[in-house]
């Protein structure tokens, strides 16, 4: 037990010494790991926010708008309304006249509403607005009512949501691809850094071999050196992402873009999520880099 402890103490001490001796190349390793993790953090933030937007949009756009022909009469409108009310997934059906629609548009446009004053006739159609329990039902309902008389067009926002999900997926895939490439590069840089320590300690390793040091004892310090570089990189990037994002978040909130802020992950929550990930990936890259270089350069 005591022997094991002394050996482990030695291994850790040598790991720190190796890190100190390789400050220069170590800086390159730390920088590369920090860069990977910062980019990973940005991708992460983007994915989380997009996800929030998708969820929120789904909530907001769970409706179908049915534009009616101007020639449609009350009877036709009633028939359409009642046939929709019987469909699965419908929570409410509401009629909005052309005039109401124009009023609403004027409200939405606010200061620019005067532009609408020039209209000679109201171009907006009478509309039936169907609230759904979930946007997923939209396709089905649209298919069933599309042949009813008096309907000019059926519009719903399945497209928008599908496009959002698609964008989220692109960000996810693209981000992961970039992160993977950068991880590969970092492993390479780390392995080159560790190679320097291995070379500097070639004599020592040779002697250790002959005196009967175990492989674990010989390799341990290099792995620790790599892991230390990884951890430092992780902590730096964690700080950079957290404070950077915090600043961004507060700036956005201060300017009262509340609509935008609600989609953003609060910095504290983000920090909790990414700290474990960053530390694991940082240490992992460090360990992997060392092992790669040991396999290549150290024939024990």
């Amino acid at each position: 037990m005591g022997m094991k402890f002394r050996l482990i103490k030695n291994i850790i001490k040598q790991g720190f010494q190796g890190m100190w001796r390789n400050k220069g190349m170590g800086l390159a390793s730390i920088t590369s790991i920090a860069a990977v993790l910062i980019i990973l953090g940005l991708v992460f933030i983007m994915i989380l926010s997009l996800n929030n937007i998708v969820v929120d949009t789904k909530d907001k756009f769970d409706e179908i708008q049915i534009f009616l022909e101007d020639s449609a009469d009350d009877e036709q409108i009633e028939r359409i309304k009642s046939s929709i009310e019987n469909q699965e997934g419908v929570s409410s059906v509401m009629f909005q006249s052309k005039d109401e629609a124009l009023e609403k548009m004027k409200e939405d446009w606010g200061d620019e509403a005067y532009l609408l004053d020039g209209l000679e006739t109201n171009p907006l159609p009478n509309t039936i607005i169907v609230k759904l329990k979930d946007i997923e039902y939209a396709n089905n309902i649209a298919k069933k009512i599309k042949d009813l008389e008096g309907i000019e067009e059926i519009q719903y926002n399945q497209d928008i949501i599908e496009k959002l999900v698609l964008v989220a997926n692109y960000v996810k895939t693209g981000g992961m691809l970039i992160v993977s490439i950068l991880i590969f590069v970092s492993v390479f840089i780390i392995s080159n850094t560790i190679k320097l320590t291995v070379t500097a300690r070639k004599r020592e390793i040779n002697i250790m071999k002959y005196v009967g040091a175990t492989n674990g004892y010989i390799k341990g310090p290099f792995v620790i050196e790599g892991v230390l570089f990884g951890l430092i990189g992780a902590l730096l990037s964690l700080g950079a992402v957290y404070y950077g994002y915090n600043y961004f978040f507060n700036t956005v909130s201060d300017r009262l873009y509340v609509l935008f802020t609600i989609y953003l992950v609060p910095p504290k929550v983000l920090f909790k999520d990414i700290s474990t990930i960053f530390i694991t990936i940082g240490a992992g890259i460090g360990a992997l880099g060392s092992l790669v270089s040991l396999k290549k350069f150290l024939n024990v």
């Binding site: 022997m3 030695n10 002697i207 002959y210 005196v211 009967g212 040091a213 175990t214």
Partner: protein, 228 residues
């Protein structure tokens, strides 16, 4: 102590380094390994140290079959064998004391044990006064004495010396030989590969001669070579 049974060694590049080696070295023996460069002396030593594995045959160390031990176990085998090289292989950034203590640290010895054993071997090799010197402050003979101290500090039953006097002048070489003889008298088995004819002839120990990968002579109280 060391036993080879029908050992062949052919390297991956096809060079046949040893063929049909049979030898047995008993506890407490002092054996010279002689022969021209490239005859296979180094390969034989590498086989004992498990740096290389034999192509066929069996090798025993301390009555244990080490022919097929796993890589993981090799370090523990090496702890039974101290090694001294022609080029000393000391660490330049460590003092004499630290160079020797290093060999104990890496196998996890207690610091109390280190503080006891290092001065002991230092006095054995007559370097107690130079414990705090760095290698570049030492002469060649002193270098080799430090290396010997490092090789025996963990008390291995076997000491292998690969041309330990190759870089030393004759007087210094004799100092080293006396030291090795003392170590041998304390019970350590010694196998020494050498080209030093005068030493071999004067020591009157067992001589094993290798030529072209084969043992061509193995005699008690032998001399370096018979041919002129």
């Amino acid at each position: 102590m060391i036993k080879f049974e029908n050992v062949d060694k052919e390297y991956d590049n096809g060079v046949k380094a040893l063929s049909n080696i049979n030898l047995s070295i008993e506890k407490g023996e002092f054996v010279f390994l002689v022969g021209p460069s490239g005859a296979g002396k180094s390969t034989l030593i590498k086989l004992i140290l498990k740096e290389e594995n034999p192509t066929s045959g069996k090798i025993y160390l301390n009555n244990k079959d080490i022919t097929n031990v796993k890589n993981r176990k090799v370090p523990y085998i090496r702890r039974n064998v101290g090694v001294v090289f022609q080029d000393f292989r000391l660490l330049p950034n460590k003092t004499v004391y630290e160079n020797i203590a290093f060999a104990m640290e890496i196998i996890g010895s207690h610091s109390k044990e280190i503080r006891r054993n290092v001065p002991m071997v230092l006095s054995m090799v007559n370097l107690s006064k130079k414990a705090d010197y760095y290698p570049d402050q030492l002469s060649g003979g002193e270098h080799q004495r430090v290396a010997i101290a490092r090789a025996i500090v963990n008390n291995p039953p076997i000491l292998i010396a690969d041309e330990p006097t190759g870089n030393l002048d004759p007087d210094t070489a004799w100092e080293i030989m006396k030291l090795l003889r003392d170590i041998n008298r304390r019970g350590t088995t010694i196998l020494m590969a050498t080209h030093a004819k005068e030493i071999v002839d004067a020591m009157q120990k067992r001589v094993i001669e290798i030529e072209k990968g084969m043992i061509v002579r193995d005699e008690e109280k032998g001399v370096y070579g018979h041919e002129i």
